[in-house]
């Protein structure tokens, strides 16, 4: 993102906050439900000063990180393999779509039965929700890559593992990155929803539910904003990483 884009983004955020301020301070909405930006910031400053929000952040992050990482570690190789062996992929495509169609959070009760109410069940649900996305995108990445490059490598005498590690993976990288981005967003959603369903002592989802019970709308708003900002930051960081790693895609 260049300087001009950043300025534009800041400006639009400023406008949004100003609109919020006007609506809230004119009491157009019951102040119980809509605190002013200042009240929200004040509550935020308190949460930050007391370091409470950081503990929640760390807990939520850790769950999401483990779940998504597991999905990537398993999903990328499986997806690449399925994409390479198209015939096998055709058999499994429908099953993958079936699993992808199940709202991941639906499996949370089952995961709790198996793993208990601790970390494992949350990580398992995040993994379940992300792994099919990663597999599918990696497989599609291989499937869509130009066959000519593989043929060229074959003529030059490349063995199958060389074709795989030196050609196929690179051609699939752009789509693998799409999978990483989508699964991270999915991981954030699932992670926070599991915290809301069955509260843990810590976590951003738990914080939101607790704030609701306590009628602490400024705290609620602040947490929602934080989650939004986290999602935005992750996405932007990944895009800039993607542009650096897949330098050839920007042009082509």
């Amino acid at each position: 993102m260049g300087g001009i884009e950043i300025r534009k983004s800041i400006l639009s955020f400023a406008f949004l906050s100003f609109g919020w301020y006007v609506v809230a301070s004119l009491h157009l909405v019951n102040p119980m439900f809509l605190p002013t930006p200042f009240e929200t910031l004040k509550e935020g400053a308190r949460l930050i000063a007391e370091k409470k929000i950081f503990i929640d952040l760390i807990y939520s992050f850790r769950r999401i990180f483990y779940g998504v990482s597991l999905a990537l570690i398993m999903g990328i190789p499986v997806g690449l393999g399925l994409g390479y062996y198209e015939k096998v992929y055709r058999y499994l495509e429908c099953i993958l779509d079936f699993f992808r169609s199940i709202p991941p959070i639906l499996t949370f009760p089952l995961a709790m039965l198996i793993f208990g109410t601790g970390e494992e069940s949350r990580i398992a649900v995040i993994f379940f929700g992300c792994v099919s996305i990663v597999i599918l995108n990696s497989a599609v990445g291989v499937g869509n890559s130009p066959k000519l490059r593989v043929n060229a490598a074959k003529i030059m005498g490349a063995k199958w593992y060389q074709i795989f590690s030196r050609v196929v993976i690179f051609d699939a990288l752009p789509q693998i990155f799409v999978g990483i981005r989508v699964s991270l967003s999915m991981g954030v959603i699932i992670g926070i929803v599991t915290e809301m369903l069955v509260g843990d002592k810590y976590g951003l989802g738990s914080r939101v539910v607790n704030a609701q019970i306590a009628y602490d709308t400024p705290g609620l708003f602040f947490t929602i904003i934080i989650v939004g900002l986290i999602g935005l930051t992750i996405n932007k960081l990944l895009i800039s990483l993607e542009n650096r790693v897949i330098h050839w895609k920007k042009v082509m």
């Binding site: 490059r149 043929n151 060229a152 003529i155 030059m156 005498g157 690179f170 050839w248 042009v251 082509m252």
Partner: protein, 259 residues
């Protein structure tokens, strides 16, 4: 011994409507040990299939193909594709692209570097080797894929429409470069092109193909020392030769004929 020997080859392929279509029936083509042969023919007559068979990607249904007496796939062959963008590796620098075939072998780094130095000494490379393919012009990219083909000391060279994805100035540039390279290499080479000018400038013999089932209907030797070849496109002798070929060909191949 022939450099490339295509003997009585028959090949059927599946057309888009599912029917199998006979492309080659007892097709023959011989290329001498250091001869550059041009292939000219109507669309869909199987020029690329022929190259694929010689390269060993596709097997003929009947007949035999030998490269210096051996079956395809045994000896190293340089195959240059029309679509240079999808045959180069955009994630590698130009240098690593050229060295890719060697990096697949167990060759030592020192020897690989020596090989590259040797190649770049023999052939002038007018651009930075540390650039990426997408930073070069189309002609330069095609040139890189030719260099990549040459690095592993190929026994034969197959070049499939190297100019057709290039604009006019790029193809002029590449044509000159290729003429230079082919002159120095002295290996059997087959160039497929759909522009007579390109073939007249780069090859020693042009084979004109018929429609399916494909055969060689006309062969024309291009005299290397003839001034027609030296001065290329602008020369009147060159134009005359081209006109003569076009006339001969259009009478023999329906797709190009008037009747």
């Amino acid at each position: 011994m022939w450099g490339i020997d295509v003997k009585n080859v028959t090949k059927k392929v599946k057309a888009s409507d599912g029917k199998s279509e006979l492309i080659f029936s007892n097709f023959n083509l011989q290329v001498k040990e250091s001869e550059v042969v041009g292939i000219f023919g109507p669309n869909g007559c199987g020029k690329t299939t022929l190259l694929n068979m010689i390269a060993g990607i596709v097997k003929p249904d009947a007949g035999e193909i030998l490269i210096f007496g051996e079956k395809p796939g045994r000896k190293s062959i340089a195959y240059i594709f029309q679509d240079y963008q999808n045959s180069l590796f955009p994630w590698l620098t130009v240098k690593d692209n050229i060295l890719f075939p060697l990096s697949l072998t167990k060759m030592k780094r020192k020897d690989i570097k020596e090989k590259l130095d040797f190649l770049t000494d023999a052939i002038k490379v007018p651009f930075d080797l540390d650039k990426y393919p997408y930073q070069l012009s189309g002609g330069q990219q095609q040139y890189v894929s030719i260099l990549r083909g040459l690095i592993s000391d190929p026994m034969a060279m197959l070049i499939d429409e190297p100019f057709s994805a290039l604009d006019y100035s790029n193809s002029l540039w590449l044509m000159e470069k290729m003429e230079e390279i082919l002159k120095n290499m002295s290996i059997p080479a087959i160039i497929v092109a759909h522009d007579l000018d390109h073939l007249m400038c780069t090859t020693e013999r042009i084979c004109f193909l018929s429609e399916k089932p494909t055969s060689v209907v006309l062969e024309k030797l291009i005299d290397l020392d003839n001034p027609k070849r030296q001065c290329k496109l602008g020369n009147s002798l060159f134009k005359e030769a081209k006109q003569e070929l076009t006339n001969l060909y259009s009478r023999k191949v329906l797709a190009y004929g008037w009747n």
